[in-house]
């Protein structure tokens, strides 16, 4: 208690100058951050502050386009979208949903929404990570980004009308072939990359790195030629609504002329010359410094936000009973849910069947009954309960030590890197092997289920011999 009072005192003593500084730092660390004046006006719910805050929220929540290559939509559309996005993230206050979308008022509520987002996670850092200029040969160590990144795909040749199953077979065959090609190309790329790293050993000023990356070498070869340098990393954490931004995929993607940010947020690579690259780096450094300053002084901000919240009129409970219609953020939620429900139901049926059988067998059997075995049975019951509890924990809790994720810069060296965080390829390979084994097991299990199901159906057809293909 005393400490809190001392802290509050310290904050008050920090003086009136601290708050604007902190807010400026915050603004600088966020993309499209408004001036501190906007924040001040928002506290008093001035209407002129609203549009800037709508735009800021839109920028923070939406998938990033490559630094404004795509035209930003109108204010109404942005406001509508922001409302829906906040709702889908679980924003508690209903006042937001009732704000007019022309941006004429509601700045205080928007300020609260911004602070809510800031309080839930390290927002400036995530955004900076998304826009991070990647100079090295990056390789993601997990598949999260690759699995999640497909944005809205342009609907390809849509099958109109019924197709034959042979069409499906053909598509599967094509898919297999493409994967084979991919693997071959990628092996070649690894070999080339390794050579480049080897040949440029000793060039880099940073001792930890020791050699140049393809992007850096390309820049030296041709400083004026634009090469596309990726930006960003998908920033992941469970529970944090990831603003699905540019995926790195940079290992595959050093140079992609002309595709820029136009492919639906899937990648964010900008064509830059060496000069522009330097500029981008410098801008990022400015943002990083601002983020550090924000972290140092954010307590002041939160004290101030308390006052802002206090200045709000209490929400009428009646408002809670009128859910306003909001556009639904299309996720794959329902589809996934149904798939999961279907699997669980199938499992439940199997378990029901199996346990009934066993129960019947037990009832018939003669051992283990009677009061003299009661304590033994109870002990067994406890043991089973504990095992099941442990099983529950396996999926309910987070997996133990954090698995590494995100893109990592590839560095070729045999010994330890001096200082800093690094991963060894051997560890990643091990983790990937485990994942591979799990997935293979899952696939075999599914295939086994299909076999059983089809066998059951085939059993209904007498007079046929089914000759299986030679096993693996």
């Amino acid at each position: 208690m005393g400490r809190r009072r001392r802290l509050a005192g310290a904050v008050a003593e920090a003086g009136a100058g601290a708050l604007p500084k902190v807010i400026t730092a915050l603004s600088q660390s966020l993309p499209a951050g408004p001036s501190p004046e906007i924040f001040r006006r928002a506290k008093f719910d001035r209407p002129e502050a609203a549009p800037a805050l709508w735009q800021l929220l839109f920028r923070l929540l939406s998938p990033q386009s490559a630094d404004g290559t795509s035209a930003s939509p109108a204010l109404e559309a942005q406001a509508c979208w922001v409302k829906a996005a906040l709702r889908s993230q679980g924003y508690p206050r209903l006042v937001l949903a009732q704000l007019p979308e022309d941006g004429s008022r509601g700045s205080r509520e928007l300020l609260l929404a911004l602070s809510w987002l800031l309080a839930r996670g390290p927002l400036p850092e995530r955004l900076l990570a998304q826009a991070h200029v990647q100079l090295g040969d990056e390789m993601p160590v997990c598949e999260c980004e690759a699995l999640a990144s497909p944005g809205p795909r342009a609907p390809h040749v849509e099958a109109e009308g019924p197709v034959d199953i042979r069409c499906v077979q053909w598509l599967m065959g094509r898919l297999r072939f493409r994967w084979r090609c991919l693997i071959t190309s990628q092996q070649e790329q690894c070999a080339l990359l390794s050579k480049i790293h080897l040949y440029t050993r000793g060039c880099h000023s940073d001792q930890r790195l020791g050699h140049l990356s393809v992007a850096e070498t390309e820049m030296l070869r041709d400083p004026e030629g634009g090469q596309q340098v990726r930006a960003g990393a998908r920033v992941l954490a469970p529970g944090w609504a990831c603003t699905p931004g540019p995926g790195p995929r940079s290992f595959w993607n050093d140079v992609r002329p002309g595709r820029g940010g136009a492919d639906g947020g899937r990648s964010c690579a900008q064509l830059c010359s060496a000069f522009q690259l330097l500029r981008r780096l410098e801008r990022e450094n400015v943002g990083l410094e601002a983020a550090l300053e924000w972290r140092r002084g954010e307590l002041v901000f939160w004290r101030w936000m308390d006052t802002v919240l206090g200045a709000c009129p209490p929400e009428a409970p009646a408002a809670a009973t009128q859910p306003t219609v909001l556009p639904r953020i299309a996720g794959r939620g329902l589809g996934q849910l149904e798939l999961a429900a279907r699997e669980l139901r199938a499992l439940q049926e199997e378990l029901c069947e199996a346990s009934e059988r066993r129960r019947a067998a037990w009832a018939v059997g003669g051992q283990g009954r009677g009061p003299q075995w009661r304590s033994a049975r109870q002990a067994l019951q406890k043991a089973v309960e504990q095992e099941l509890a442990a099983l529950r924990r396996a999926w309910e809790q987070d997996r133990g030590p954090a698995r590494p994720h995100g893109p990592h810069r590839l560095v070729r060296r045999e010994d330890e890197a001096p200082g800093g965080q690094y991963l060894r390829a051997a560890e990643v390979i091990q983790a990937l092997r485990n994942q591979e084994a799990c997935l293979e097991a899952a696939l075999h299990r599914l295939q086994g289920q299909c076999r059983q199901e089809l066998a059951r159906l085939a059993g209904a057809l007498p007079g046929l011999i089914w000759i299986l293909p030679p096993g693996r």
């Binding site: 493409r178 954490a237 996934q336």
Partner: protein, 453 residues
């Protein structure tokens, strides 16, 4: 033929997977192109832009941060690069026409010098750039280009100062103004100079100083940001934040926390994992052969327990379904491709910051990359398998009588990944006694299951 709804979904799904692959392939090919080009001999591609725009490095400048080149500087730069371009062209023409002995080369050198010289003059004339000594540098750089070095032109360039930019050695073929030495002639003639290859001279490359500075500052700042994180949990700021969130919650008048769509998806993912773990456990129990009554009882209790847990999971799923469904849906003004990435388990690391991945040999790197692709492929296969199962199995079971061609195709797709096919023979009753369908567990007896009979 498959029904149209089913067809549409299947084709869409497969086409999506194909597009995914195609995109990866495209990106990979671009990277390959770049890498191959780097490993060949470097041709003098493009025009060297001398260092100046890359910011303040010299002590002569006033310590103003991030010198942005004024439009005037850029114009001068433009002029300079045009002059250099012209010089290259002239030089090429001349050296093609002339012979490669010293006299004509000297002459050609001096001939080529003049356009260069005249170019450098105007750059000096318009005077100074504010804090950038842009004009001073290019001429200095160019002088350095032509500093003679028998057999080691590149090394001299680098030792000539920290401002030596790499590309310069590749540009050693370009003639610069200010020839100072006789030897320059032959060595500067384009044909005579050995092309720059990464293999032989890669070690001599050096990044520009301004760039190095910015990059090192960048990694330093990221390291600082990263180390600022763990403090957060014990910080007063963290306490203030949680307090603020709670106040927001209570002020909203809502009874409980709203289930965000994101959280729902995360939980559904967890329940899916629960399903797979439960079924794994079930298989273990079913395959174990109990030797005495305690084990039998244990098995029975486990199975019943698993059934109960599954029921609870299903119940939870239904709750989530209701929660999702109750949010009123309106028209969506814009597409939002919000696919929540499956949790990677990295909860301890709230945000990503740049890190290194060390590898020690080409082999290791190839293994790593191949494994990554394999995991991606397997994941896609599992997903496709589920989709195919959901679409095709009901189809086959609903047909009465089931079409054999369809059965065969579905079997190959679902059970063999589309790689192998089974054969179906009509069992002619004239040749052999027909197999009588047995009343026992059809699963064990069916010939479709390999290696079981």
């Amino acid at each position: 033929m498959l029904p149209s709804g089913c067809s549409r979904r299947l084709v869409a799904e497969l086409q999506g997977a194909l597009d995914d692959c195609a995109e990866r392939q495209l990106q990979l090919e671009q990277s390959l192109r770049v890498s191959r080009r780097l490993l060949r001999a470097w041709e003098p591609a493009g025009i060297l832009a001398p260092e100046p725009p890359l910011g303040p490095e010299t002590k002569e400048e006033d310590p103003s941060p991030a010198c942005t080149p004024s439009p005037q500087d850029l114009k001068e730069l433009e002029l300079l690069t045009q002059a250099l371009e012209k010089a290259v062209r002239v030089r090429k023409v001349i050296s093609k026409a002339g012979e490669r002995d010293k006299a004509p080369s000297l002459k050609s050198g001096s001939f080529a010098t003049s356009p260069g010289m005249t170019a450098s003059a105007p750059t000096r004339a318009p005077g100074q750039a504010g804090s950038c000594t842009s004009e001073a540098k290019p001429t200095r750089g160019i002088h350095q280009t032509t500093v003679p070095a028998k057999g080691h032109p590149e090394r001299r360039l680098l030792s000539a100062g920290n401002r030596a930019r790499v590309g310069v050695e590749a540009r050693a073929t370009r003639p610069g103004p200010g020839l100072r030495d006789q030897h320059v002639g032959p060595s500067a003639a384009p044909q005579a100079l050995e092309a720059f290859t990464l293999k032989e001279k890669g070690r001599l490359l050096q990044l520009p100083a301004a760039f190095r500075k910015a990059a090192s500052q960048n990694s330093r700042l990221w390291a600082q940001l990263r180390s600022a994180q763990p403090r957060d949990s014990t910080d007063a700021a963290a306490a203030a934040k949680t307090q603020f969130l709670q106040k927001m919650q209570t002020a909203s008048g809502r009874p409980g926390p709203v289930l965000s769509a994101v959280e729902v998806e995360a939980e559904v993912g967890r329940l899916q994992e629960a399903c797979s773990l439960l079924s794994l456990r079930m298989k273990e129990e079913l395959s174990a052969a109990p030797t005495d009554w305690t084990q039998e009882y244990h098995c029975l209790l486990t199975l019943e327990g698993l059934q109960a847990v599954t029921g609870q999971c299903l119940h939870r799923l239904q709750e989530l379904h209701a929660a999702l469904a109750e949010q009123p849906v309106g028209p969506c003004p814009m597409e939002r491709p919000s696919r929540t990435p499956p949790p990677c388990g990295g909860a301890a690391d709230p945000f990503w910051s740049p890190q290194l991945l060390l590898y020690s040999s080409t082999q290791e790197l190839q293994t790593l990359a191949a494994l990554r692709l394999r995991v991606a492929m397997l994941d896609q296969q599992v997903h496709l398998e589920k989709v195919l199962m959901a679409e095709l199995l009901p189809l086959v079971s609903s047909q009465e009588p089931p079409s054999l061609a369809l059965c065969r195709a579905v079997h190959s797709l679902l059970c063999e990944g589309g790689e192998r096919f089974l054969t179906i023979l009509h069992d002619d009753p004239a040749d052999s006694p027909p197999p009588s369908p047995r009343p026992q567990d059809p699963v064990r007896e069916s010939p479709l299951l390999p290696g079981r009979s």
